[in-house]
Symmetry: C2
Subunit: 313 residues, 2 copies
């Protein structure tokens, strides 16, 4: 099911709206300065292994041509990437030995501060839509522009849950899949039990809730199904940045490729999300994704089956 590079032209398009950034990250295992980052970058490259990603985002005048070239090389459609006057969005942060917690040193919104996601005419009929973590107001604005997508998914974060809860709920009411991490699900619902919290999110509208739990994997709930996926077991994690966005991109890419979104398709998509995320965190920025092969994806997928398998009594 993983696509060969030369097939991308015919692949199903997936719209991805989110940040494109320059990240400066330090972890106990190294550091990078002004490397390619941002949710839309990770999600679109992850999706590119299965489908044809279309990005809507914004960069400044200082955004290196080589990053544009690298994304284009992966088959990412950049017609919706706005080039604005000013500097590109920058995030500077670090992780301690406990890689579960990102520490932000600085966030410079720059051109992202006045970002309005305007969809080119060619994007408006895209059947698969992923709204990465941006202002829920802008997520709604994107949903207003797309014509009845087959499947829409959103991510969000603690900042928006706190400052714009009503808008977050409006977005949730209009998407099919909600992707959030465990802390966000608890924060949004006020439920400490994760299963109860995820069930509550279903009541807000989406048919499917996927809770990302970092090293503990992910769980997916719908009205009549519950699925739990482990994280791929890695002994070395160099930089966890982008894992969640990679997960979402691979998930949406696979669903677009599959053309179905039954329970079995969703489960395979979650496993692929975990697999792709496991590659992202092996190196800084998108380095590992850029040198990833379909064969490697397949092998880790099969390994995921081996590590979860057990016989009946």
């Amino acid at each position: 099911m993983v696509m060969a590079h030369e097939d991308q032209g015919k692949a199903t398009p997936v719209l991805i709206v989110g940040s494109v950034a320059l990240d400066s990250v330090r972890t106990p295992f190294g550091e990078v300065a002004e490397a390619l980052g941002g949710a839309a970058s990770y999600a679109s490259v992850a999706a590119s292994f299965f489908a044809s990603p279309r990005v809507v985002g914004v960069v400044g005048e200082d955004f290196p041509d080589r990053h544009v070239a690298a994304l284009a090389e992966r088959g990412v459609d950049l017609a919706g990437l706005q080039h604005s006057t000013g500097r590109t969005f920058r995030w500077t942060g670090y992780y301690e030995y406990d890689l579960n917690q990102a520490h932000t040193v600085s966030t410079e919104l720059n051109v992202f501060a006045s970002f309005r996601p305007e969809l080119p005419e060619s994007y408006q009929g895209t059947p698969y839509v992923f709204l990465a973590n941006i202002d829920p107001e802008l997520q709604l604005y994107v949903l207003d522009q797309v014509r009845r997508p087959r499947l829409a998914a959103c991510d969000t974060m603690n900042y928006w849950i706190e400052s714009a809860r009503d808008k977050v709920l409006k977005v949730l009411a209009r998407v099919d899949i909600a992707l959030m991490n465990d802390a966000e699900v608890r924060q949004l619902t006020g439920e400490s039990n994760l299963i109860a919290a995820a069930r509550r999110v279903l009541e807000y509208g989406p048919g499917v809730v996927i809770v990302k739990k970092g090293e503990h994997g992910a769980v997916m709930l719908s009205a009549d199904s519950y699925f739990t996926a482990p994280a791929y077991p890695l002994q070395e994690v160099r930089d966890p940045t982008g894992a969640g966005d990679t997960f979402a991109g691979a998930l949406m890419g696979y669903l677009a490729r599959s053309g179905e979104c039954g329970d079995g398709d969703l489960r395979r998509a979650v496993i692929l999300g975990s697999v792709l995320a496991s590659f992202t965190v092996e190196d800084f920025s998108l380095r590992r994704l850029f040198r990833l092969s379909p064969q490697e994806i397949k092998e880790r997928y099969e390994e995921m089956a081996r590590i979860t398998r057990f016989d009946s009594l």
Copy 2:
């Protein structure tokens, strides 16, 4: 594979050494005072669904006869339960809405302070041995008394890792299975990556390491296998006390019942550990275990298969 009650006489014996206590516990969902508790109580009742548990522990003069009767009713052999002059070990604690963290109000060791686990002659050839969390010095003392058990497993805790690390390592060198929680594995090895930490524990001696992660399930590692089991998804957890001990007891009970300890047996044992633990936390003390049926165990086991299953690509 779950045993009918009337078959327990013929079942394989499992030796369980640990605390028998009176617990006073408060959670947001209720409270109990001086209820039956202690690692050996939970582990032996969990094991009793599969095998014939033999307990070594100590209680004081104040230990209620009804608790002895309840354990005996589950087929637990109490020949090794010492009755000492003084008061029974008592633990008082509470949990906040985040049930992952126990808060200790008081620990009264009482008769447990001078506990020496003396094995009755009839226990010394027990083929399956579980050393619950007690002073590693005493765990070694038990291992000195048993004659070449087929399988020995141990648990431990942060207190012993800090105060008696050398002794903990000596125990690990002499058991087949190490059961610990994620924080303890990290603490013992100084490794923040859980997989790397668990691999390190394998170097200390045991052929198998099982890391209990509470609501995130468990992972099992050996030299040539990795297995990950989710927690059974519960929307209501009333009291997490005893979950880990229940897990260990069910695991050892099942392995005794199976008579094998290949990778497939170990995987089924881990799933049963998670399943039994999921019942324990549904009510205070051992209440849920005491009213648990083999049919209920089977149903949750099958549910565990459903929630982890996914097809190949």
